[in-house]
Symmetry: C2
Subunit: 189 residues, 2 copies
């Protein structure tokens, strides 16, 4: 077996992972990131976000070959034409994706080889809030329930421990569970 094969676990280069951690320990300023999204209204419930550049490790990161384009929309019952998932569904996706990536990285770091990770996330919402009909139900989900199915070369107890550690370190879980200060600036002609 080559050294390279040894360092790749769950598709993550653990040598690079440890190298990144060491570099940040030596210079914590490398850990400062700024992510961005640019959105444009396309008409009705359709709007589109482009994502590409971000700031990381003391400079603008220009490594992405092209921008990502995301379309949002609403289903017919919410007055849209299904031009994309709706914003609340995108939030569920962001949470699922972050928990999964955290899980995969934590497992890689701890020597656990995963064979399968699947999740289903559900969010319950009373749309009277968002539609402005009532102040009693909140606008967003009252709660989100996530179910993860995880398989790998470790006993169930170890797999659960890795999921729990992933939850404790997930960026989006932290934001969704605890909230983030948001400032909103408006420019008009």
């Amino acid at each position: 077996m080559s050294t390279t094969a040894e360092t790749i676990r769950n598709g993550v280069d653990t040598a690079q992972l440890y190298g990144t951690l060491d570099a940040i320990k030596a210079d914590p300023d490398l850990a400062r990131f700024r992510f961005r999204a640019r959105n444009r209204w396309m008409g009705g419930a359709h709007n589109q976000t482009t994502i590409r550049d971000f700031y990381a490790a003391k400079q603008e990161d220009t490594s992405r070959a092209e921008e990502f384009v995301l379309d949002a929309g609403e289903p017919a019952i919410l007055l849209g034409t299904d031009t994309g998932p709706n914003p609340a569904e995108y939030l569920l996706h962001a949470l699922a994706a972050c928990l999964t990536t955290s899980l995969v990285y934590v497992a890689a770091a701890r020597g656990v080889r995963l064979t399968e990770v699947e999740s289903t996330l559900e969010g319950d919402m009373d749309v009277q809030g968002a539609l402005g009909l009532s102040d009693e139900p909140r606008n967003g989900f009252e709660g989100i329930h996530a179910t993860f199915r995880v398989k790998g070369d470790a006993p169930p107890e170890k797999l659960r421990e890795v999921v729990e550690r992933a939850r404790q370190r997930s960026a989006v879980y932290d934001m969704v569970a605890n909230g983030v200060p948001v400032t909103l600036e408006v420019e008009t002609p």
Copy 2:
């Protein structure tokens, strides 16, 4: 001008909008929605979500002709291969999309015709948290800054008022700003 042309404002059918509001006022149970996302790990930082079915107005909604597929990933500096935006960027997109749709709907309801809505969202993160190197910086964004550029047939003051009302009613803004209870269930073999 036809009646239909009169009822469409900002691409939103205001007759349908008012009809929906009246129907929910008459039977608030119609407002109970459940959205879902199903995610599968594809290897490394790549995972994929499918979104289609949801519950609304007392039944499973089967109106969507096909499922939406979303790929998440990480850039090279975060050990991925750019298979998609990363989860934190998806959260920015969810927030931008929801504020924009709320704005468009509120404007439609209030008789304001919009001609342009663009936004830029930025989130600052110290990745020492998510990488497990420190407990001091949180895992997620320390803060999110959103800038909206809005044009329409109303004076600046009115446009700002509509943005403020949209913020007050946005589902994703509520969740990101205030947090949501999340339960996490793990199934292992």
